[in-house]
Structure formats: C-alpha cells, structure tokens
Amino acid sequence: MESFESQNFIHAGPSHAGMRIGKGHDTAKVDEAQIWKSFKEGNESAFAYIYTTYFYKLLNIGYQLSRDKSLIKDCIQDLFIDIRIKRKKLADVKSIKLYLYKSFRRRMADYLQYEMKKVDKERQAANEHYLIDIPYEDRLINSQLLEIQKIKLNKGIMALTEREREAIYFFYYKNLSYKEICDLFNYKQVKTVRNLVYQALKKLKPYIEIVLIFSCIINN
C-alpha cells in the first residue's frame, strides 16, 4: 500500500473498498458510475472523491480559457454547489469526467462573458501569459534554447482559434479521444473534431518545425 502523496491522493469510494492511489493523469479504473450514484444518494465521501479527483483538472481547463484564476475558481465553486443541491435530480452518468468537463465549459462561457463586461480590455491583455509549457525534463537541459522554443510554440498556439486550441489541449494534453471531445463540444460528428485537430496542426506546422530543429540540437 502506498501512502498519500500531497494532492495526488484519492480516497476510497463509498464502500471504501476500491482504494486507489491516483496520479494526475486519467488512468482511473474506479467505477465512476457507482461513485456518481452514491453521490446522488447523499454520500459525502463520494462527493469528496469527485471534488478531489476533478478540482485541478477543471481549474486547468478553465486556465486555458482565461488567466483570471479567481473567476475560474468561482465557476468551479458554483458548479459544485449546484450539483450538490440538485444531486437527487441529476441524471445517471457513465463518465463523471465528461459530465463535469461539459457542464464546466458551458458555465465558463457565461462567466467569461460576465467578466468581459466588467473588465476593460487593457487589463485583459496584461493578463496574457504563455499558453504552453516545456516538459520538466527538458527544462533542465538548456534554458536559453528552450526559451526560444517556448516563445515559438506559444506564438503558434496563439495563432489558433479558441476551439482549435481547446481541441489540441484535450486531444494531446488531456488525452481525450475524438469521440469524447465530440461529446464535450456537442458536435454531431466525430469527424468534425478530427478536422479541427487537423486544421490546428496545419497552422502549427511552421512553429513545430522550428521546435523540432531546436530539440535536435538539444538532444545531440
């Protein structure tokens, strides 16, 4: 039995039988449908499990849409308050992940609109940071070259539409399938998602080439 690690623990589900220690990535083998059911029946452990598993994931999905962390946190807070209040009436779901991602994205759209009205454009511009990050292992190698890589790739990512950027984020970074993204975006056809990723990759191509040249230099 492993011991808890900070932030990465997942405690047992409602029966306390399916104990599992989780890492950040979606390798969950727990029965989400069952956990969701216990949550609906009022089990607080199930709720805590859901919150613990998805808080950082939602925070970072929101972080790709806005750099206003307090707005994202508000949105997560209100989402969870709502599902707690309405828990008995919620539909059964197979994947808590998709349910939360979907409700959260829909909700974030409202919150962003609200924020747009409040905040002037200048402050928003000042809020923009790098959208991409460099893998930690690489970061140790050569900071100057990596800085260039980062700027380049970031430029590329910035050139994408919001949808394309999200598609890339969910497909390559969150490792969702085309089908899952299709569901998330409410598209009718899975093909549409594939096209979206294709479009995005085409736009990224010149930037990617440069990045690859650099990483050749680094790796050799």
């Binding site: 808890f4 039988a17 104990m19 709720f47 805590a48 790709q64 490792n175």
Partner: protein, 346 residues
C-alpha cells in the same frame, strides 16, 4: 488509409498512436514496435510525431490553497458574486410567469413557518432529560451501528461510544473511549462533535477516524473526506482544520498538536477487518494482536527489545494462526496458541 502511406500528420492524427505515446501499454507497444520493423523507412516521421505529441504541454496551475479554499466555500453553499449575478440575469431573461413568482414566495413563507415550528418543538424537547446510550466493545469484537441521526459508526474492540437517545437540535455530540471510524450524515448546519479525552473534533459531512486509547497519551484524528476542526474542549479559539488525507496527533504530555499525512489502510483498515502493520515494532505488534484477537501474548526465550523489528503487512480477515505463521516465516520464531494464550518463542 494504409499504414505504409503514413506521413507525419497522419501519425499525429492517429488516435491509437497518440494514445500509445501518452499512455504506453504493452499491447500497443508490441503493435507499434512491429509496425516500425515493417516500415523502417517511416522511422524519422514516426519519431518526429512522437516528439511533437510529447511537446504539447500547456501551462498549468496547481496550488493546494485553491483546492481548500474552494472546497470550504462549496461546503458553505454560498455562490460567488459572479454566479449570483449571472443567475439573476438568466432568471430575468427566462421571464418567469407571474403566477410562478407568487408560488415561489408562497412556498418560502410555508417553509419559514415550518422551520419555526420545528425549532420550537426542539426547544421543548431540550427540557426533557435525554437518556444516554453506551455502546461497549470487549476485546476481539468490532461493531458497526447507526446513530440516531443516521451516521454510521465502526467501533473498534475495547472501545466505548456514549451518545444520547436523541441528539440536541444544535449539535450532535458523542464521547469516545478507544477507537472509532465515523461516516457522518451530512448536515453542515448541524455540527457533529466527537469528544475523546480533552480533544473535540467537529465535522461537516465527513468520514474520519478517531483513536484515543486510554492506555496511550496520544489522540489521533485521521480525515478521509470532508473537513473537520480539531481543538481542545475548553478552548474558545478556533481549532485546526484538517483536510482529507491529513492526520492530527495530540500529545497529552507535551500538549502539542502535530499534523501529518496518513496511510488510509493503516489508519482505517481495522473497520474493514484488515489488520495492517507498517514499520510496526515488536511491542506494537504484540499490543495490536492482543486487542484484535482478544488473546494474551507471552514472549519466551531471548526475545529482542520491544522496539526491535519493523513489521509490514496487511491481513484481510485472517486467522491468528495465519498471522503468526507469516510472522514466523519472516522472523524465524516458533509460536503456540492455547486458547486465549499465545506464546512466541525466540
């Protein structure tokens, strides 16, 4: 498309390829290794695609502070200013029919009256002395039962729980000697308090383990889910908050609280009939086994000091004999079980 016609972009768009790069399992590794052997001319593009996928990293935030802050607010149930504003706007836009508005305010009044009644009844009940119930476990027995409010308690052996027949309308209070695991029925407006020794633990919809053996000078509280507040009973100041995965230990002698991370199985395994040892010394082993199986252990021969040994193990619903068998396997000792007497020979 045929795999032999694959270009860089095709690798990047291939779901299975991506899945393998991000989350390699042996089946896929086998497949793609084979693939590379079959089409060696594609090697460069193959490696390029792999690298690009691994480079798609996005900036992320992960601060524990945020995690706890938002969790606390959710439990309080108060929505953010942004959320309230958006909802009120939506309500206006949706144009609630006039009759529904009236109905809404009507039901509000009804609810208010109802609450008023309930709280008055509650007060009357206060004046009646509520009789106390004691659940008592001897050695070797564990007990699971529901409290008057529906909360579930797992009581360990040699432990007692005292609680009233009906809980006070303001707070649910129980007293514990020994060790118990609580799965509290959530009601943030109705605090649940466990008194163990001079330590009180207040819970809001939560499960946690309290360990306060009378023969030990420390009290342990390990939180599995929810939020609890731990403090000394007569302390007016706010106590320490625990979040899931944290454990707090109060030492009676030094009067100090220490927070640490805990091992779920080690702390709460007993309630699922799992006997867990982690770096347990001989002394701890003897004490735990005596309590668990209701036996007395006698050490014979040249026994090592009680702080020697470091025993690790998990026994799910295992007989005493099996436990001792696996111990003797590791430590080369002999054992004998005579009824409630156990002899360990060194």
């Amino acid at each position: 498309m045929e795999y032999k016609d694959f270009r860089l972009i095709d690798f990047l768009l291939d779901e299975d390829f991506k899945e393998w790069v991000l989350n390699p399992d042996s089946n896929r590794t086998l497949f793609w290794d084979e693939w590379l052997r079959a089409y060696p001319e594609k090697r460069q593009e193959f490696m390029k695609a792999k690298e690009i996928i691994l480079k798609m990293r996005f900036s992320e935030v992960q601060e524990e502070e945020d995690f706890h802050e938002v969790f606390g607010k959710i439990l309080q149930g108060e929505k953010s200013a942004a959320g309230k504003f958006i909802e009120s706007q939506k309500m206006q836009r949706s144009g609630m029919p006039a009759w529904l508005k009236i109905a809404a305010s009507l039901s509000l009044i009804i609810v208010a009256i109802y609450f008023f009644r309930v709280s008055r009844i509650g007060q009357e009940e206060n004046n009646i002395t509520v009789s106390e119930i004691v659940k008592n476990n001897p050695k070797g027995r564990k007990l699971t039962f529901a409290l008057p409010d529906g909360s579930i308690v797992n009581l360990n052996s040699e432990s007692s729980l005292f609680f009233p027949e009906t809980f006070h309308p303001d707070r649910r209070e129980v007293r514990l000697v020994g060790e118990a695991y609580f799965d509290i029925k959530g009601d943030s407006a109705w605090p649940f308090v466990v008194i163990a020794g001079n330590i009180s633990t207040t819970a809001l919809g939560t499960s946690f383990n309290v360990r306060a053996w009378p023969d030990k000078t420390t009290t342990d509280i390990a939180l599995v889910s929810g939020i609890v507040e731990v403090k000394k009973i007569n302390d007016a100041n706010p106590g320490m908050l625990l979040s899931p995965g944290e454990k707090i230990t109060h030492d009676e002698i030094t009067d100090e609280f220490t927070k640490s991370k805990f091992d779920l199985a080690l702390e709460t395994g007993w309630k699922d009939k799992i006997l867990v040892f982690k770096n347990a010394s001989l002394g701890e082993f003897v004490q735990t086994v005596e309590r668990w199986y209701d036996v007395e252990i006698e050490l014979q021969g040249a026994s090592p000091s009680s702080t020697a040994w470091s025993i690790d193990g998990e026994f799910r619903d295992t007989s005493l004999e099996q436990v001792l068998e696996s111990l003797s396997f590791v430590y080369k000792i002999n054992y004998a079980i005579n009824g409630r007497k156990v002899i360990l020979k060194f």
